[in-house]
């Protein structure tokens, strides 16, 4: 009998590796029946994982790290980057006055600081959105606590909250930024890769007890997701991927909306101006999905979680064990200097492995040691 794995995701474009793993039959080929279900909130996804209702989840990397002490394990990264910063009319005018160009993170940082206090929507506090915004403001010379008023909202309500003035801007995963633009409620000024080009965004999170009981199935799921990630990164037809994700079973929305982040070509405003960012949302093999210990260390530092090395949750050892049989390249190290690469560069590995750029907007380098 084929083993069933229950896995939940929040309907966003970056859930693509799981959806593709199922729809293109990678999961089945690896010998598991992947039972996918959608969640309406991160809290609910977290609770289902913690109480063993599901085996695995598509999770915000910082949320997963914050749960490491409770035993949550991250054996794989699913995607890098992928969030859009959207401003409502008033803040947009302020940014235009200060000559803010698409993806000029330094300029956005200065503008947020000079503005004083900004009410900003994020989907969850333990999220890359919140961490990157805090980083941006801090490196622009101000105390994030004094500048950013975070308002946690479901992405589906961000547009309405912009309209009624409850928030002035927001940062969320796609398609919600593009939707706000399409509805004429806001303008995209930045994708999160402009703050950090190599931010681990969503990870595969495994519930504490599942690994012992179902390790071979979890490994199968990881291989299926890695193959799906590779397929997504090599696919030259964003329209076809968009159609697949947009199905009622999955994201249940207009496929056109999903194409922006999949192609890296964003419509920024009602005037139809374009912004191009090929690193806006990145899927792929080990160059993307390897869970670097240094990534979780950066997250832990930003969240002021004091995690002993063994509690960090990111598990390169499991990644190697699961993906070895696929025969792809595997990094030799488990940790790297975050932010050291301004351009793609080959790294030490058993085969050719080129890591994409991972620079921070301010050129800083994070050394986990």
């Amino acid at each position: 009998m084929i083993a069933v794995l229950n896995c939940s995701y929040v309907p966003l474009v970056d859930a693509a590796p799981l959806i593709v793993a199922k729809e293109l039959g990678y999961a089945e080929e690896e010998g598991i029946h992947l039972n996918l279900s959608k969640e309406t909130s991160w809290s609910s996804l977290r609770d289902k994982l913690m109480y063993g209702v599901i085996d695995a989840a598509h999770m915000l990397a910082p949320l997963a790290v914050s749960l490491a002490k409770q035993g949550v394990i991250v054996p794989q990264v699913l995607s890098l980057n992928g969030n859009c910063f959207v401003a409502g009319d008033e803040l947009a005018a302020y940014l235009h006055e200060r000559a803010m160009r698409f993806n000029d993170a330094a300029c956005l940082g200065q503008c947020l600081v000079s503005r004083g206090r900004v009410r900003i929507g994020v989907p969850f506090l333990a999220s890359m959105q919140a961490l990157l915004l805090r980083y941006l403001v801090r490196k622009s010379g101000a105390d994030p606590d004094l500048v950013l008023d975070f308002v946690v909202s479901p992405p589906s309500l961000m547009g309405a909250k912009l309209q009624n003035g409850e928030i002035e801007c927001f940062m969320v995963g796609e398609p919600w930024g593009s939707l706000a633009v399409a509805q004429g409620l806001g303008q995209i000024f930045l994708t999160s890769s402009a703050v950090w080009q190599g931010a681990p965004e969503k990870v595969l999170a495994i519930s504490p007890n599942v690994l012992n009981m179902k390790s071979s199935q979890i490994f199968a799921l990881m291989r299926a997701c890695a193959r799906a990630g590779r397929w997504l990164s090599e696919n030259r037809d964003p329209g076809a991927v968009a159609e697949l994700l947009a199905k009622p079973d999955h994201l249940d929305c207009a496929a056109e909306l999903l194409e922006h982040s999949l192609s890296g070509r964003f419509i920024l405003n009602e005037q139809g101006h374009y912004g191009i960012d090929k690193r806006a949302l990145v899927f792929g093999g080990p160059e993307v999905s390897f869970p670097w210990v240094s990534q979780s260390a950066w997250i832990a530092q930003e969240m002021q979680i004091d995690l002993a090395q063994s509690h960090v949750g990111f598990r390169p050892d499991l990644y190697r064990a699961a993906l070895e049989s696929l025969g792809g390249a595997m990094p030799a190290a488990s940790s790297k200097l975050e932010g050291a690469l301004c351009h793609p560069r080959a790294v030490s590995a058993n085969k050719d492995l080129v890591l994409g750029p991972d620079a921070f907007f301010d050129g800083q380098i994070f050394d986990p040691d």
Binding site: S41, S43, S44, M50, Y51, V53, Q70, S153, P154, P208
Partner: protein, 194 residues
Amino acid sequence: MTEPLHIVVIDPNKERAFLIVDALRESDDYRISVIGETTGLARRLGEMTPDIILVDFEDPARDSFEQVISALGPAQRPVAMFVDQTDNQMMRAAIEAGVSAYVVDGLRKDRIKPVLETAVARFHAFARIKAELEATKTALAERKTIDRAKGLLMKSRDLSEDDAYALLRKTAMDQGRRVSEVAEALVTAAGLLL
């Protein structure tokens, strides 16, 4: 005698919230408040000092509620319940019923359990009532369509009511469809043609 537990139910669905209130009210161990309208949630929760907060698990705004709840003062800050704090079986039942609970630190398990059990039972009961209501509504709507289709047949083919229904039923059986589907198709077609 211990202080009564203050339970706050955040639920825009008033009927369901009151089902829980009714069930818990009989005991002197509880004081219950319901928040249906979530604007000003932070201020209202701050005044209430709840021991247990019950939230609809499926509410898309749950993440917002959680931010507000976790921002309450340290003395009165209920947290999401985790495995070490309670019994796993009970929490799974709660999740499956669609209840999530936030509980102040240090509250004894035996005081949480009956509250959750009651909430779970009431959520189930509510879901059942809702499903029954939906089924009734659908049946009524189908009945209406069938009546209209019968009327159309009686008029255009000069049939009696019984014959009109017999024709609908025969067509449905021949095509392997439900009578209501055939009736719906007929009504739609008639709407387009006439």
